[in-house]
């Protein structure tokens, strides 16, 4: 098993009902698998194309394999500036 920390920002805090979760995943689990898991918590559907995920503070592809201790951030559309 790998244990990761999931972070939820801005609108996603409300959608997923948390700002931080510790989640256990099977070895070899990808970002896509984690999205499936957290999506079950979602209070409302999130258009998958609008969600970015960062692993250890870098935007990551959906097939990125997660490792023990990873910090995985769920990032809604950004609006800085």
């Amino acid at each position: 098993m790998v244990r990761i920390t999931a972070l939820f920002f801005a609108a996603y805090r409300d959608v997923f009902g948390a700002d931080e979760l510790e989640i256990e995943l099977p070895e070899g689990a990808t970002v896509a698998a984690l999205i499936d898991i957290v999506s079950r918590r979602a209070a409302s559907a999130v258009p998958p194309g609008s969600m970015a995920v960062a692993v250890n503070q870098d935007y990551a592809a959906r097939d990125t394999v997660l490792r023990d201790g990873d910090e995985v951030a769920f990032i809604p559309p950004v609006a800085g500036g």
Partner: protein
């Protein structure tokens, strides 16, 4: 190069002074300021939230890349988070360059990339009491292999 995400009011003069050097003839400063309206609604105030560590890292990466693509001397970016009143600066970007063309282009590129890539969010409070996360841009993520 200087990038920060801060809760403190932004000081344009201070940020300009971070990039100035005797070999640069042009300084371009962009300041984003909280407007009193958005999408036809009266805005009372707003709050910015950031994934701070990643935001600073992304700003650093943007500044490095823009510096390598344009003939500029230096670049600094400061983005504010927390509650802001109408009229306050949310972001200040300063670029110094030997010639103005590079300074303008680099400045423009930093703000465009910031708005598309840096994990910062804006929640507006309207005069009618409602609040809303402002619709943003989805960062481009790497393609699957």
């Amino acid at each position: 190069m200087y990038c920060e995400v801060t809760r403190a009011p932004l000081d344009v003069q201070d940020i300009m002074s971070r990039v100035r050097s005797d070999s640069d003839g042009a300084v371009v400063v962009f300041a984003g300021v909280v407007r009193n309206h958005h999408g036809g609604r009266a805005v009372k105030s707003l709050a910015y939230e950031a994934y701070e560590e990643m935001a600073v890292q992304k700003l650093d990466a943007i500044c490095r890349e823009v510096s390598s693509q344009h003939e500029i001397g230096d670049v600094a970016v400061a983005h504010r988070v927390g509650p802001l009143a109408v009229g306050e600066a949310s972001v200040v970007i300063a670029v110094a360059a030997p010639h103005r063309d590079a300074a303008y282009k680099a400045s423009r590129e930093v703000i465009e990339r910031l708005k598309h890539e840096v994990p910062i969010w804006k929640r507006e409070r309207y005069a009618d009491g409602e609040e809303e996360w402002v619709e943003g841009a989805t960062p481009r993520i790497p393609e699957d292999d």
